[in-house]
C-alpha cells in the first residue's frame, strides 16, 4: 500500500482552501487504488490542524515544526519534502499551484528527477497512472497530461479545482520529520513580511465569488463600490490590468495573463471590456456576470448574465437588491 503525499499550503497557521480540496481529491484517488493519503505540514503549528487534515482524508501527517520553513526562501521546504519522500516512499505528490509553492516544486523536481504538471484542474486514474487535466492558452485549449513512467509525479493543483468534502477520518498519525538543512538552504533570508490584504475578504485565488472592476470605473474611488458589492456577497475583489496599471488597485489583485488566474463559482466584472488578456485569467469561472455600458464589449460573449448599462447606476441598485434578499 503506497502513500500519496499532499503538501499543505498554509498561511497564519491555517490551511488554505486549496489544501482541503487537494486532500479530498487525493483521498478519492487513493481509496480507488487501495492507497492512503499523508499530509505534509512545513512550519510550526501542525498539532493544531491535525484533526482538520484528518477529517479531509489524511491518515498520516508528516510535520517539520521549524520556523526555518518560512524564515528562509524555498529551499528549507524543498529539503523537508525530500525527507518526507524518503520516509514515505511516495511516488505521487500534490501541491498547491500558487506562485511560491511552484518554486518549491521546481527545485524539488530537479533534485528528485521528477515530472511536474502545474495548474491542474482535474485528476483521474487512467490505466493505473494519474492523468491530469490542464488548461492552456488562457483556457482556450484543454489538455490531458501524464508524468513519464518511473518518475516521482508532482501535480500542482489550482484553487477550486476540487470541492472539499470531509470523509469522516479521525486524527492522523503524526510523524515528525528529521531535517538537516544544507548550507545553501539558509542562503536566502526573509527579513520582513508585509501583509496588506484585508483579513475580511477572501483571496481571489480561492474565493467562491470574485467581484472585479476595470477601466470603466473611471477612477480609483470606484473600487469603493466594487468592495461594497463584494462584501455583500462575501467575495474577493479583483481588477483588470487597466485598473492596476492606473494605480487604482494593487497589482496582486490583477486578473489576467500577466496576473492571477482564477476559477471561482461566480465572476462578476464591472466596467471590464473582457479583452483576451483578461479572459485568459478568468474564463474558466463557472458563471460569469458582466456589467458594462458598451453592448459590444467582448465580455458579453462569455457572460451567463449581462447588464448593458452604467455601472454607477446598476451596481448600487444591485447592492440594494442583494441586501434585501439577504434580509
Amino acid at each position: 500500500m503506497a502513500e500519496m503525499l499532499v503538501l499543505i499550503d498554509h498561511t497564519d497557521g491555517h490551511p488554505r482552501k486549496v489544501s482541503t480540496q487537494m486532500l479530498t481529491a487525493a483521498k478519492r484517488l487513493a481509496d480507488a487504488a487501495g492507497d492512503t493519503v499523508a499530509a505534509v505540514w512545513l512550519g510550526e503549528g501542525a498539532a493544531d490542524v491535525a484533526d482538520t487534515l484528518g477529517a479531509f482524508g489524511a491518515a498520516k501527517l508528516y510535520h517539520w515544526d521549524s520556523a526555518d520553513a518560512q524564515g528562509y526562501v524555498t529551499l528549507p521546504q524543498v529539503e523537508a519534502l525530500q525527507a518526507a519522500l524518503e520516509v514515505s516512499g511516495a511516488d505521487t505528490l500534490l501541491f498547491s499551484s500558487s506562485n511560491h509553492v511552484k518554486d518549491v516544486a521546481a527545485r524539488l523536481a530537479i533534485r528528485a528527477d521528477a515530472g511536474v504538471i502545474t495548474d491542474v484542474t482535474d485528476l483521474e486514474s487512467v490505466d493505473g497512472a494519474l492523468s491530469a487535466t490542464k488548461e492552456v492558452f488562457g483556457g482556450d485549449v484543454i489538455t490531458k497530461c501524464k508524468v513519464a513512467d518511473g518518475k516521482l509525479a508532482m501535480f500542482g493543483v489550482g484553487a477550486n479545482a476540487f470541492v472539499a468534502e470531509e470523509s469522516g477520518g479521525g486524527s492522523p498519525e503524526l510523524v515528525a520529520l528529521e531535517v538537516t538543512l544544507s548550507e545553501s538552504a539558509t542562503a536566502t533570508k526573509v527579513t520582513a513580511v508585509e501583509k496588506q490584504a484585508s483579513a475580511d475578504r477572501p483571496d481571489i485565488g480561492e474565493a467562491a465569488i470574485v467581484v472585479s472592476g476595470g477601466r470603466g470605473l473611471g477612477e480609483e474611488a470606484g473600487f469603493k463600490l466594487i468592495e461594497e458589492l463584494a462584501d455583500v456577497l462575501g467575495a474577493g475583489v479583483g481588477a483588470s490590468r487597466a485598473a492596476t496599471d492606473a494605480g487604482w488597485y494593487p497589482h496582486r489583485y490583477q486578473i489576467g495573463q500577466t496576473g492571477r488566474t482564477i476559477s471561482p463559482t461566480l465572476y462578476l466584472g464591472s466596467g471590464i471590456s473582457g479583452a483576451i488578456q483578461h479572459r485568459a485569467g478568468m474564463q474558466t469561472s463557472q458563471n460569469v456576470v458582466a456589467i458594462n455600458k458598451d453592448a459590444e464589449a467582448p465580455i458579453f460573449q462569455i457572460a451567463d448574465f449581462g447588464v448593458v448599462g452604467d455601472l454607477y447606476q446598476v451596481v448600487p441598485k444591485l447592492v440594494e437588491e442583494l441586501k434585501a434578499r439577504k434580509g
Binding site: V73, N99, D103, D119, T143, A187, H251, A280
Partner: protein
C-alpha cells in the same frame, strides 16, 4: 556588474493559437510571435541597473533560428549583447528541459544577476527561474515587485497573495520580476538602430556540452497526450438597464436562483 536577461518568444496572445495534431505542440508558425510581454519588465529593470550602476546586460534566448528578431527587439531597449541557443533537439522540451538548456548556457557566462520574467504568457508554469537556480545551486528570489542591488547583496520584495516578503541573499543570484515592478519604456529610435550591430552569439547544444538526450520531447518528464479546444460558450441572458432598476433586480433574481446569495 554583469546581468543576464533570459527572454522567450511567445505567440501573440491576441493571435490565433493552433495546436499541431501530429506532435501535440503549439504550431509556432501559425500566428505572430512576439517577445514575451513579461520579459519587458525584466529588461527595464536591467536597463535601470545599467543606468544606475553601469551594469553590462546580455539577453539570452533559447529558441529556433527564426527567433532572432525577438533578440534584436530586446537589444533595442539598450542592452549590450545577445546569446541565442538554437538546436532542433530542443523542440518539445518541457519547462524542466528548457531550464536545463538555460542553466547550461548561463554556466558558460560570467554574471552577478539573472533577471527572468516571473512567467511566460503562453505556458505560464512559473517553474523555469527556480529550476534554473536549482541547477546552478544559486539563490532564487522570485516574483520581485521591487529589486535593489547593493554591493554583493540583492534585496527583493517578493510578492504573494497577501502582500510581500522582504528577502535577501548574496550575489550571484537568480531573480524573477512581476509587472508591478516598473513601467517599461519604449525602445528609442537610436536603440533600434544600434540593436542591429550589437554582438549576437549563436550556440548549439554541442557548443554548450548538453547531451541532446537530456532535452526535447524524448526527455520530457511530463507529456501532454490529448488535447481539445474549449467548446464555445452558449449565449447568456443580456438585459439593458433602462434606469428603472429592473435590470439590477433581474440580475439579483438570477443570482438568488443560482444560490449566490
Amino acid at each position: 556588474m554583469k546581468v543576464i536577461v533570459p527572454v522567450k518568444r511567445v505567440p501573440d496572445t491576441a493571435g490565433e493559437k493552433k495546436m499541431d495534431p501530429n506532435d501535440r505542440t503549439l504550431d509556432r508558425d501559425a500566428g505572430e510571435a512576439v517577445l514575451c510581454p513579461v520579459n519587458e519588465f525584466a529588461i527595464e529593470e536591467a536597463v535601470r541597473l545599467k543606468e544606475q550602476q553601469g551594469a553590462e546586460v546580455t539577453v539570452l534566448l533559447v529558441g529556433p533560428e527564426n527567433a532572432q528578431p525577438i533578440l534584436r527587439k530586446a537589444l533595442s531597449y539598450g542592452l549590450d549583447a545577445a546569446i541565442q541557443v538554437t538546436d532542433d533537439a530542443i523542440s518539445g522540451s518541457d519547462a524542466l528541459g528548457t531550464a536545463r538548456v538555460i542553466a547550461k548556457a548561463l554556466e558558460g557566462q560570467e554574471f552577478d544577476l539573472v533577471i527572468f520574467g516571473n512567467q511566460s504568457t503562453d505556458a505560464r508554469t512559473c517553474l523555469v527561474p527556480a529550476a534554473v537556480a536549482e541547477l546552478l545551486n544559486l539563490p532564487s528570489l522570485t516574483y520581485a515587485r521591487h529589486l535593489e542591488v547593493d554591493g554583493d547583496k540583492v534585496v527583493v520584495h517578493r510578492e504573494h497573495e497577501e502582500g510581500w516578503d522582504v528577502v535577501e541573499s548574496s550575489l550571484p543570484a537568480i531573480v524573477s520580476v512581476v509587472e508591478a515592478i516598473n513601467e517599461p519604456r519604449y525602445p528609442s529610435f537610436k536603440g533600434i538602430m544600434a540593436a542591429k550591430s550589437k554582438p549576437l552569439t549563436v550556440s548549439s547544444l554541442a557548443d554548450l556540452g548538453v547531451d541532446p538526450e537530456q532535452v526535447g520531447s524524448n526527455a520530457a518528464t511530463a507529456t501532454m497526450y490529448e488535447f481539445a479546444e474549449r467548446p464555445p460558450k452558449e449565449a447568456g441572458t443580456v438585459v439593458e438597464d433602462d434606469g428603472s432598476g429592473a435590470a439590477a433586480a433581474a440580475l439579483a433574481d438570477w443570482m438568488a436562483e443560482k444560490k449566490f446569495v
